[in-house]
Symmetry: C2
Subunit: 125 residues, 2 copies
């Protein structure tokens, strides 16, 4: 599939698609071919690639909307609050990454198939 077509599906720009797909290529999940009839291909086994791997491949972007203003503040109040929040966020992050690790692209494909069939049935009724 070309970046142009993907961009249309995603409602965005082909360059934006290439930016993200480039990371997935570095991780060996997809490959790209230049020139005529080129575009993107999935190279990995869907049952092996987890959401966790995609997250890692995309540079482990921040999961939480908030974070410490300073990692090592002089202010003792700030240190105290940071410590309390760090602990809670670390637990939540660990759980989130664990769940991401349990969901593979094959799982999503299977769920998609169910949804697809359900929609088709609905149309026939």
């Amino acid at each position: 599939m070309t970046s142009d077509d993907l961009a249309k599906c995603l409602g965005t720009n082909p360059v934006v698609v290439r930016r993200s797909m480039g990371f997935l290529r570095q991780a060996g999940i997809v490959a790209s071919d230049r020139g005529h009839a080129g575009g993107w291909r999935i190279t990995a086994d869907l049952s092996v690639v987890s959401l966790r791997q995609l997250h890692d491949a995309l540079g482990e972007p921040a999961l939480f909307a908030v974070g410490n203003r300073n990692e090592l503040p002089d202010c003792l109040v700030e240190q105290t609050v940071n410590a309390a929040l760090d602990q809670s966020f670390a637990e939540a992050e660990a759980l989130l990454l664990k769940r991401f690790g349990e969901i593979t692209l094959a799982d999503l494909a299977a769920d998609f198939t169910l949804r697809h069939a359900a929609r088709r049935n609905q149309k026939e009724t």
Copy 2:
């Protein structure tokens, strides 16, 4: 304490302080006095106010850095991905809010006291 003094401590602007403190006042956690010798007072019992309550009082701002582009997309792929992520995020959010509910301002005050004593000892040595 005045908004001006708080702003200096926080390295920000007094109006920004008032914006946030206004929410805490609505929740009954602090009170403000105008005029001479006015400013902000804590009105709640420190052992009763949890981080969860602060979070709620401040309007339950988003905890996660990512979210669904559309809540109810037509696209079946998007629906599939949303469902998978929603589940994981819901679990992580529940855990996070639970932890926030377990931490009170009194807990933070106690931890601060320890850190304060530790710093003092370090200076004496």
